[in-house]
Symmetry: C2
Subunit: 249 residues, 2 copies
């Protein structure tokens, strides 16, 4: 159960969920992906978005169960779309602290999968909280720029605070994304991460590659769109690192 | 009163607020900028972030007024930082519909400024709602990639819905940001915007320029960091387009 999380916007959460899930599925793993972003970008990236769609929103609102909203989008990949009412859930304030466990409870019967990935929205509100409490592991994409670092320290404080209070611990992996190899800034961000998080930064950095930005417009993953490009290579390598827990130094 | 808004993450809201505000200030305009993002990136980009800071959070919570939290960060620029409690406001659900007007009411006495810019977070929750209802104009940065377009249509639906219901209308400007001039995808996004929003796309596209990503790490605007680079040129030109209401075609 893996949450792909970072409250900083545009760091590659959706791009990573899309392509990491597909890489693992192509290696024979049974994968479920959950779109926890009311903006439904992951669902659209798979080419699966529909008007007035039912998805994880209905499950969290109690109107349906997981199997009732699952869509088999690719071989070995089931998608649970965001659904058109997910935005309401970020607003609803009834139910108090129990509401943070809705996804955790809904997923308790999701046993027959090798991996469940949850793509989180760029906020630290109720939807992200649900992903955090449902997850055993976390992948934190960090883009190679200063504001991403600025957001990271705040994110880790929030996570520590929640995990201490609720006695819920997750294993955390960092992934450097949107990495411009020739930029000094990208190298500096990369080095800072290695210094502050030894043993936690997955050993493949995802390079900036326009094909990764193009593939969602065709409703395709990078492997379907351009299997030989750098973006496909990097996500294949990242999947392998993730399977083996291989990190820098 | 201008909200810089887009619920898609990482499209350049903060970078645009920082540099557009400074360009206008350097031309002699009196500018106030408000950091409406609990992540406080704008405040940090000006080099003004402090531990346990009071800011717009205190004003919206009723503990202080605007003048009590204003920081003169540059000549002609007053900053109202996010403040360390702003995240709580996205969560609080007391007060119902009235809560959307808190910022509007707080700003009613902010008369002696030429421009007030509000940097919004990547969500369409209560903080963005407050910015929308306080604003007379809106700048919507759109990065040159597909998921930014995907987010734009949803944003415009939300805005229409809110504005129809609350009889509140704003003038909307679009700005193409993170524009990779040699990428086909960027050109396609640009052309789509011109087709769907004639007369609304400001006539300067902000090109991808690493200096724009580097300047916040020094707490500097692009003009202080590297006044002769493309990023500085583009934001100078954008400020001029904005002053004159100059759009493509
Ligand atoms: N390595 C890359 N190379 C090129 N473009 C990329 C790369 N990674 C992501 N992108 C593009 O950058 C934009 C932001 O990425 P993405 O939407 O995956 O980030 P996110 O963290 O999910 O954003 P949000 O916070 O809005 O959910 C998208 O248009 C995406 O296609
Ligand atoms: N034109 C550009 N060229 C290079 N880098 C840029 C450009 N515009 C923005 N960036 C960088 O891209 C990242 C995202 O930009 P920014 O934080 O301004 O977007 P945002 O919409 O405010 O994000 P969020 O949704 O998290 O508030 C930042 O690290 C910023 O420095
Ligand atoms: Mg996303
Ligand atoms: Mg921002």
């Amino acid at each position: 159960m893996i949450a792909v999380m970072n409250q900083k916007g545009g760091v590659g959460k959706t791009t990573t969920t899309l392509n990491l899930a597909h890489a693992l599925a192509m290696s024979g793993n049974a994968v479920t992906v959950i779109d926890m972003d009311p903006q439904s970008h992951l669902t659209a990236s798979f080419g699966a978005e529909l008007q007035d769609q039912e998805g994880i929103d209905s499950v969290l609102l109690g109107d349906n169960n997981l199997d009732g909203v699952k869509i088999p989008v690719r071989e070995n990949i089931d998608l649970i779309p965001a659904g058109s009412r997910l935005g309401e859930l970020e607003q609803i304030a009834v139910g108090g602290a129990k509401r943070g466990w809705l996804l955790h409870d809904a997923l308790e019967k999701e046993h027959d999968k090798d991996y469940v990935f949850i793509d989180c929205p760029p906020s630290s509100g109720m939807l992200t909280m649900n992903a955090l409490l449902a997850a055993k592991e976390m992948i934190i994409p960090v883009s190679g720029d200063y504001l991403a670092l600025h957001g990271l320290s705040r994110l880790l404080n929030i996570l520590k605070h929640v995990e201490d209070r609720l006695k819920h611990v997750t294993k955390k992996w960092l992934v450097v994304t949107r990495f411009h190899s020739r930029r000094k800034l990208a190298q500096e961000v990369h080095n800072k991460l290695l210094n502050y998080f030894p043993g936690q930064v997955l050993a493949t950095s995802i390079r900036e590659n326009v094909s990764l930005a193009e593939s969602p417009s065709y409703g395709k993953t990078i492997f379907e769109y351009k299997n030989s490009c750098n973006g496909a290579q990097d996500y294949r390598d990242l999947a392998d690192d993730f399977l083996k827990g291989r990190t820098f130094k």
